[in-house]
Amino acid sequence: MTAVTESAAADLVGSADSGTDPMVPHRYRVVRRRLETRDTVTQLLEPLDEPIPAFAPGQFAMLYAFGVGEVPISMSGDPSRVELLQHTLRNVGAVTGALCAARPGAVIGVRGPFGTSWDLNSAYGHDLVFIAGGIGLAPLRSALLQALSQRERYRRLVLLLGVRNPDELMFRKDLRSWKGLFDVDVEITVDRGAPGWRGQVGVVTTLLPQAPFDPDNAVAFVCGPEVMLRFTALGLSQRGVPAQRIRLSTERNMKCGVGLCGHCQLGPVLVCRDGPVFSYDRLAPLLHVREL
C-alpha cells in the first residue's frame, strides 16, 4: 500500500464527525503485522482518532486502504482488549492486497463494528463447537478467546478446523496452546498432507460424526466459504444439533456496512445489518435458492 501519513489520512477522512457518523472511517495505525500464511496477514491496530466502539466476536469492520477501497473484515482479536484492534485478512485483490501490504506505521481507515455477533452469552451451559474452514478461523478466534476467558460458563469446547494443506494453518501458536489445554478438544484436518504431517486428512465435515460434543446440548459456530457452511450445517443437523443452535457467518459483497446500499442483499435480509451471523433455521431456506 502506498504509505499514507497521519495528516494525509486526516485530510482524506475529512471534517465529518468520525465519532458518530458510521460512514466516516476512524484512522488507525498498524502497530504489528504477522504473516500467517503465504497470502494472509494478521495486523494489530491502534487508534489515532477516537476509537471505534468495542466489538463483539463475529462482528466485522470496514477497513479502508486510502485511495484504493474498502472491504469488510471480521475481527480476529481478543474482544476484551479494547485498546487495540486485531484482524486477519487474505490478499485476494487490489484492496486486500493494499491492506495486507500495510506495515507497522501505515495508517488505514476503520468503520464499525457492524453486524450481528456469535452471541456467546446465549450459549451459557452448552457445549460450544467451533468449526472453521480456511481463513474462517479468524472470526471464530475472537469467540474462542472469549469463551476461554469465561471457561466455567460452558461445558465442552471443541474446535474443528479444516484447511487445504498444512502450510495454510494460521494462528499456529494459538492452536498449539489450545491443543495443550485439558478441557478443549482441537481437531485439525487437511485436504492434502505434506511431508511431516501426521494428522488427519479429509474435509472438515468428516470430523463431525465423532467430534466429542453432545448434540442435544451443543451450540455450533461455523465460519468458512458458503459451500462449506452448507455441508457443515447439514452434517451438524444429521448429528442432531437443532437448526436454531447452528450459527453461520456468511458473506456477501458489502459496501456500506449499515444496511443502506443493498449490495449485500440475500433475499429478504441484508447481510451487513441482519448478519453476518445467522442461525441455520433462518439461513437454510436462503442458502438453497440458487439465484441468491
Binding site: 477501497g69 485476494v92 480456511g134 474462517g136 479444516g162 488427519q200 468428516t206 468458512g224 462449506m228 455441508f231
Partner: protein
C-alpha cells in the same frame, strides 16, 4: 461362548459401525473376530495384496494411502477410532485397492473376511444389514471426496 468371544461381542456391540445390529448377528461376528494392537508406523495392508480381513478401529489413526513412484505415498484420507477400515474384502477379486498405515498407536477388532462372507451368504438378513452399513460408509466417503474436489475452503473468492 467363551469369555473371550463374549468380551469381543460386547466391544463389537459398542462399535459405531455396528450400532443397533441384532445381538444374534453381533455374536456371530464375535466368533470371527480378534483384538489387535499396533504401534505407529505399522502397515496394516498393502495395495494388490489379498483382502482377507477388515478392521473396526477402536483407537488410533490410520492413513489410507497410495504409493506414487518417485514421491512420498499420497495420503487419501484418514480413519480413526470408531471408523471401519476396508471394504475390498467384500467384493471380488478381494484385493486391497489402497494401502493402510498406522500413524498413532492403534487398536482394532479384526474380522476374518471369508467367514463374514459365508455368513452373508447363509443369512441374507445379516448380509443385507452389513451391506447397508458398508454402503453408508462408502457414501459418506464418496461425499467427502466430492467436497474435496470442490476445493471446499477456497472456492475462487471475489477479488477485492
Amino acid at each position: 461362548m467363551t469369555d473371550e468371544v463374549a468380551g469381543i461381542a460386547t466391544r463389537l456391540a459398542k462399535h459405531p459401525f455396528l450400532a443397533g445390529m441384532p445381538d444374534v448377528h453381533v455374536q456371530a461376528l464375535a466368533g470371527l473376530a480378534r483384538l489387535q494392537r499396533w504401534p505407529a508406523d505399522t502397515r496394516l495392508f498393502s495395495e494388490h495384496r489379498t483382502a482377507d480381513r477388515f478392521f473396526l478401529l477402536e483407537e488410533g489413526l490410520v492413513y489410507i494411502e497410495m504409493p506414487i513412484p518417485g514421491q512420498e505415498d499420497m495420503v487419501l484420507e484418514t480413519v480413526r477410532g470408531g471408523d471401519v477400515l476396508g471394504w475390498s474384502w467384500l467384493f471380488p477379486p478381494y484385493v486391497w485397492h489402497f494401502s493402510a498405515l498406522t500413524v498413532a498407536p492403534t487398536e482394532a477388532i479384526v474380522l476374518a473376511a471369508a467367514g463374514v462372507r459365508e455368513r452373508c451368504e447363509a443369512s441374507p438378513e445379516f448380509g443385507y444389514d452389513l451391506i447397508r452399513r458398508v454402503a453408508g460408509v462408502a457414501i459418506q466417503r464418496l461425499h467427502a471426496v466430492r467436497l474435496r474436489l470442490m476445493n471446499l475452503y477456497d472456492p475462487t473468492p471475489p477479488r477485492r
